[in-house]
């Protein structure tokens, strides 16, 4: 394909050199305009994050200096440590990772894999209508079920625990069921049949044939589910009341109250920016290292960040 297009351009150039020159001049101007626009947009888009990171390194006078300090000097690197320990962020990080994000991510993956396999690979009566119901639940706004679910979980004594997040994740997630099901259907049936002849059951086929072939889709599930629970704010706001049980998102909110009441004293803003940077960093790093998985997840199913 490349060689063919090169040949075409080649002939054009030979035949009409003057036209090409004016065109290429126009192209240069257009390119220059595009680059200028993109660079300006990028600076605008990255500025808040740059400001968050650099303000983490400032002291109080640098926070309220006019004109604003673009590069903190001196840079107070110990702000990160001070901010993190000002409230018990170690506990909050533990809660976010081990009580919330990790169990929810793993359970969602396992349950969604099983359900997606049923919808993709086993022909049974009623499969299509049930699948459409599953898709339709994606359109249901969670506010409608929020209050009754709260009442159910409250009656079960699950307030101030992470069960309201962990238990529902054992029942699959419609987005991921859809994503995995589409992926499974692209895997040739012959592979399953071969395993069946060797005496494998449906679970065996799922774990030994389908799962190893579905790594890209599984990566999308893991990434997005982890990110959603890491970023979740409203869920913990409703279910978690005691400070020692709070995840990072709620702990940051506590520091906001401090910043608003103290303004530019007592290092409120630098510390607020420092914890925000530290909490955002894992997500940004995951994106940088798994960029292709992110982009694929969004372009194929429109998963939101």
């Amino acid at each position: 394909m490349t060689s063919a297009s090169q040949t075409v351009t080649g002939t054009t150039q030979v035949q009409q050199p003057s036209k090409v020159r004016s065109q290429s001049f126009g192209n240069t101007v257009a390119k220059f305009a595009i680059y200028t626009l993109l660079i300006l947009l990028s600076i605008t888009w990255i500025f808040p994050l740059y400001w968050m990171a650099t303000s983490s390194l400032k002291d109080d006078p640098q926070i309220y200096t006019v004109p604003p300090v673009l590069i903190p000097n001196p840079a107070y690197w110990n702000n990160f440590y001070d901010a993190w320990t000002r409230f018990d962020f170690n506990q909050a990080a533990f809660n976010s990772v081990f009580l919330y994000s990790v169990p929810v991510t793993i359970l969602t993956l396992i349950s969604s894999l099983i359900v997606a396999y049923g919808f993709a690979k086993i022909p049974f009566r009623g499969r299509e209508p049930l699948f459409w119901i599953c898709i339709a639940t994606m359109m249901l706004p969670w506010q409608v079920t929020m209050v009754p679910l709260f009442i159910i979980f409250k009656n079960l004594g699950w307030i101030n625990t992470y069960w309201p997040f962990v238990v529902p994740s054992m029942f699959g997630n419609a987005y991921f069921i859809f994503l995995l099901r589409q992926f499974f259907r692209s895997i040739p049936e012959e592979l399953s049949d071969a395993a069946r002849i060797d005496g494998a059951g449906e679970f065996g086929i799922l774990w030994r044939i389908i799962v190893p072939l579905s790594k890209p889709a599984i990566a999308v599930v893991l990434l997005f589910r982890f990110m959603w629970s890491w970023n979740d704010y409203l869920g913990p706001l409703i279910y978690i009341n005691t400070e020692s049980m709070q995840p990072l998102a709620l702990a940051i909110y506590r520091m906001r109250t401090l910043a608003l009441s103290m303004g530019t004293t007592a290092m409120a803003y630098p510390h607020l920016m420092a914890v925000s940077t530290l909490v955002a960093l894992p997500i940004i790093l995951i994106f940088i290292f798994a960029q292709r998985t992110f982009i694929e997840g969004i372009s194929t199913t429109g998963l939101k960040g």
Binding site: I46, Y64, V115, V147, P148
Partner: protein, 307 residues
């Protein structure tokens, strides 16, 4: 497409079919149980609560449609909240789509460093909303925010972005647009699917850059524009974290959006009946908007020659 067994065979299932029926239902049972427990039952319960007086403590009292009537007629906040939300959705979503589409087109031109530019535009949409809200709270601050710092340096008047009722909503829309990276990535993927041959054909016909954009790119992207529109409206109606963390609904209720108010009614005022009625109204509004968009889409969405 796999179709279920033809009617002729319905009477007697073969052994494999029976086994498949059992295994299939077994495999999807986690979702089926979850659907009944965490979607269908709460949905019905919510409808019931919306017709009661309930505060988490005393038994719910059935009062019919009174919650709905009260919201529409005598509630002091409902229409303010509705206006705020429609303002945010009505301006934010179309503007966000326009900006995202234009950025995607810039990214789709023959440039070096596309991956880097795309990352820079996309990352704000995955940064935890709480973190993003904190830095905007700081940047937009009247006294020591970066933007007002720059304005002061230039000897200009400061702008009370979040502390004036007139500017709070536009400020939130600005942040909303900043976090539209997902839409940009979706648009970019669809732009890369537009066949080159169409542009070449347009070029042969003497179409200039604007014509190619308006008559080739835009029509071919209308299905994705519709998708982003519907997803955008659903998400924007439900926005909670940003306004709640950034402004807490203020100043003077100017950013009291629908779900912020719903949350307050349910978990601060404990007016469960009212909150449930609000939830159902929201559900119907979202449904209505989606249906309207789908209905009108036949007129403006191009599906590759199929009518």
């Amino acid at each position: 497409m796999a179709v279920s067994a033809p009617p002729a065979q319905r009477r007697g299932m073969t052994k494999t079919e029976k086994r498949n029926q059992v295994m299939g239902l077994l495999f999807i049972s986690p979702w089926l149980i979850g659907f009944l427990l965490f979607a269908l039952f709460p949905l019905a319960a919510s409808l019931y609560y919306s017709m009661t007086n309930y505060d988490f403590i005393r038994e719910p009292q059935f009062i019919g449609a009174a919650n709905y009537v009260r919201l529409f007629t005598t509630d002091p906040d409902f229409w303010t909240v509705m206006y705020n939300t429609l303002y945010y959705v009505g301006i934010g979503v179309p503007l966000g789509i326009a900006v995202a589409f234009l950025i995607a087109n810039l990214l789709n031109s023959e440039i070096k460093g596309r991956t880097l530019f795309r990352s820079v535009i996309y990352i704000p949409s995955i940064v935890p909303t709480v973190c993003a809200a904190m830095v905007w709270l700081f940047i937009l601050n009247v006294q020591y925010g970066a933007i007002n710092g720059i304005l002061k340096t230039m000897g200009l008047a400061t702008i009370p972005f979040l502390s004036s009722p007139e500017l709070a909503k536009p400020s939130l829309i600005m942040i909303y647009i900043w976090a539209q990276g997902t839409a940009v990535v979706i648009f970019l993927a669809s732009l890369q699917d537009v066949p080159r041959s169409l542009y070449d054909a347009a070029l042969v016909d003497g179409a200039n850059a604007w014509n190619r954009f308006w008559n080739v790119t835009v029509p071919l992207c209308t299905p994705v524009i519709l998708f982003n529109f519907i997803m955008g409206i659903i998400a924007a109606f439900q926005d909670f974290t940003l306004p709640f963390v950034l402004t807490g609904g203020g100043p003077m209720k100017s950013t009291e959006f629908y779900v912020v108010n719903l949350y307050r009614n349910a978990f601060v005022q404990f007016s469960i009946g009212k909150a449930s009625a609000m939830a159902w109204i929201l559900f119907l509004i979202i449904l209505l908007f989606s249906v309207i968009l789908f209905r009108t889409s036949a007129r403006w969405v191009y599906y590759g020659g199929e009518k």
